[in-house]
Amino acid sequence: MFLINCPYCGERDQSEFSCGGEAHIVRPKQPTELSDDQWAEYLFMRKNIKGVQFERWNHAHGCRKWFNMVRDTSNDKIHAVYKMGEKPPVE
């Protein structure tokens, strides 16, 4: 059970959060201009990394804010949390 440092509320138990999958997949601004393959890429294709992964999390039972998290999936170490719209930390 992680201890997650919500950028708005501080450290809280993982049970308050829900994970929203891979981060930094931007919804295309002009979906109609995309081919089936391009749209499918946005819609279905997700990475499943063993190692450092960028994820979306929602403080569902807290402030209800979405934020991003950098987590190493091999050992569950959380390297960073940052607000939506902020740039991911370079490391």
Binding site: T32, L43, N75
Partner: protein
Amino acid sequence: MTKYRVNKTKHVDQTKTVSFNFDGKSYHGFDGDTLASALLSNGVHLVGRSFKYHRPRGIMSSGSEEPNAICQINEDTDLTEPNVRATEIELYEGLKSSSQNCWPSVNFDIGGINNFISPFIPAGFYYKTFMWPKSFWKKIYEPLIRWSAGLGKSPTKPDPELYDHKHVHCDVLIIGGGISGIIASKIAAKNNLKTILIEDKNILGGSTIFQKNENYKINDKYSSEWIDEEIAELKKLDNLTIKTRTSLAAYHSYNYLLAKENISDHLPLDKRNGDIRQRLWKIRADKVIVATGAIERPLVFNNNDRPGIMLANSVKKYLDFYGVSCGFNNVIFTNNDSAYETAVSFKEKGISVEIIDIRKKSNSKIVKNAEKLGVKIYWNSTIVNTFGHRKINSIEIMNLSEDGSNVVGDKNRINCDCLAVSGGWTPMVHMHTQSGGKLDFRENDQIFIPTEIDKNHINVGSCNGDFELEEIINNTNKKVKNFLKVSETEFDNTSVLNSKELDKRNIWLLPNYISEGKCKSFIDFQNDSTAKDIKLALREGFKSIEHVKRYTTTGMATDQGKLSNMHALGIIADTAGVKMGTLGITTFRPPFTPLTFGSIVGRSVGKFFDIIRKTSIHEWHIQNNAKFENVGQWKRPWYYPINDESLHDAVQRESKAARDSAGILDASTLGKIDIQGTDASEFLNRVYTNTWSKLGIGKCRYGLMLNEDGMVYDDGVTTRLGENHYLMTTTTGGAANVLSKLEDYLQTEWPELDVYLTSVTDHYSTASICGPNSKKILTKIFPDKDFSDDAFPHMSYQNAKIDKISCRIMRISFTGELSYEINIESKYGKSLWEKCIEVGKEFKITPYGTETMHLLRAEKGFIIVGQDTDGTMTPIDLQMDWIVSKKKYDFIGKRSLYRSDTIRENRKQLVGLLTDDPNEVLEEGAQIVSDMKKKPIEMIGHVTSSYFSPNLNKSIALAVVKNGKKMSGQKLIVPMENKNINVTVSESVFLDKENKRINA
């Protein structure tokens, strides 16, 4: 006092006799005994049969690692519990216990025949044997295996006891109350840290508490005396919470730990008073110190499983802690010094003991001490066989060859009634690895020890590979100081005297003159796997330790391989000729010791199982005989039977009343989301498939929401309350998910939009009145309001007041009838409802439930998301093309509506079905086929909604059918178990296709 109780100790109160029952016989023990020590004090060793071969087995250990003494307690009561270890049950008056896994009795067990046919049941026996003949599986093999499989009997009655959960936070958590845990706790608590110490036994002190030996002294005191003083001081510390009878179950990441506290398990049944039985502690600790100690290893030799063969340190504990001698003619079989402590204890009490040591010689202090006391030691020797059916009576020993790979010389037979075995010590690294920690192999002691990487967690004492008393005290002190950033402690100058082990020799599988195939050298006692099985698995090509484990079931019993894993690894390494450290180990998974279901669920049982949501009108529904259905967490009236009316009769009556005069539905559970902000209209444009920008203030519109993949997600009516203010309704079950989804888009994709969402589901109650007389009823409730179609048209809303209480009236319809929904603040919901019923009396207003609501909407072909859709239906599939805007540039899911798969013609599409026999009602979920002759028969769809319509006087159904759009008028078949039902594809709107009733 029985003859085996040879010693008085302060831990067992021999003035307090406790009577108990084992396998139908009455015995006596004393206050302070465990079931195991009490049985041993009565000379009872044989307590169970092994799982596969049904070999007689006896008590082997004194703790949670016990593989044999597994009992059923309090059988035939509703408090019965299977698979409890006799070594862990504290004895109480009236305890009833019995052996498991034997039939008809532990002394005479039919299954014992498995022992004689054991050459024919090797590892993987089940996988290999029950393959043929195929027809035997269902009738013969499976029932037989099911009868003989499993351990113990589950309780048949509900658990009457109470369980609890508790969340705690602390600065430092110490796991294990042995010597190193006590040192760590004292340092932590004395340095102003909020500290919790948990210990699974009922007292602190570990094995030090019964260590009274000249060779092990701390500050010139016996270790047991020193530790007693430490414990007494510990109990005075303010910052420290000591939890005994509390075992750690799981160590998760970020120092989140679960521990189970036994509160009343040690009390006689009549003294438990319905208090909490067990409490699960959920602990988040800033720092964790693991001090779980080590478990003594057995040795692997032929017939090493007879009753009377025990672990050496456990034998010592029974003697020095419980005062029970496990035998009077003892033999110790060891490869290390620690077993000599047992020998010294025996000798000091005048009890006979001899030692067989696989080492060539040792001159350590404790060895010399034993020799001086006259203990006969057979050096460089091993046991090649043991004898005695229900209890060991003799052993056969031989000398070892120089390299230890073989036996040499003559066999020598020695009589004994107890064989105490020690193969060294295995650090309990389970907690460390559960938390994600890694291990290193220490060649010298053939052990895995923790490598520390996490800055908030350390291991101290023998679980960290420190076995000598001096190392334990000094290293624990040093490590804890460093960990907690303490500069000095009272343990800095502790003087420790201890006999140091000078010689080591380890042989994982001891050699024998008998061929390997004929030896029964057990590794996993609980699952009956032997060295032979491991070697067979290797010969058959299994290489990974995880595979060998599963194939042979080594380490997979309820003891989780506490005694067996290391030997399995060692034998694999030796056989395969690789270094043990390179093999890796099997994963240790929680729980460390089994948890009761009660402790896992805690108080979340019965009415606390899940949240129950009730509308403000709920009481009225109960008073009016409503039957309820669960919709998500909501309790919704399902139907309101009058007298003994059946569901069918009630629904037929309610449905007819709603169309003929007036019906009323509690619609409060529909999700309601208040949407405000200057971009609210634009936001709705993006989330719904249709256009919202031109909706006038005071108007309502139905909307369909898709997922990005184009599939229907939710639907509902949204009302424009003001320029920048909307009220969205969602399905009852979808409310929370819709809000999350909308929040997700707002926060992550469209942060530029000025929109605020608030859930107001619970804020308003809704009474929905429908039927041709609904307008008259509304007019009576709101005499000042003009309800003419011009002043208050369909799909519009107005504010109104009842007795000065504001409410909103929406003229919207889910039944196809003229219909109004009145929203009012929840606290007035019941009064509003009662007023509607009162006023509606003259029109025979009829309350109806969800079943009638479903029927009425099905007559009109209105979908229910989640019933007629299943996450694979687009609006086009639902024949709802009209609601999909062609003009809008984008909305959620738009692009997916013309992917190659979604424009496929033969997708399943929503249609109506009419049965050829109008009285035949289809089953929801029934499959639909068009051709019964072509095999395999293709299933082209299924029935999603089906009712008998009292208003049309015939059966109607909605279904999804491949290419259904083009099948109008076509005959299809719904095959059922006993018959085939003929149906015709129809339009999905069955009643009032012209929508006249809405303006009736």
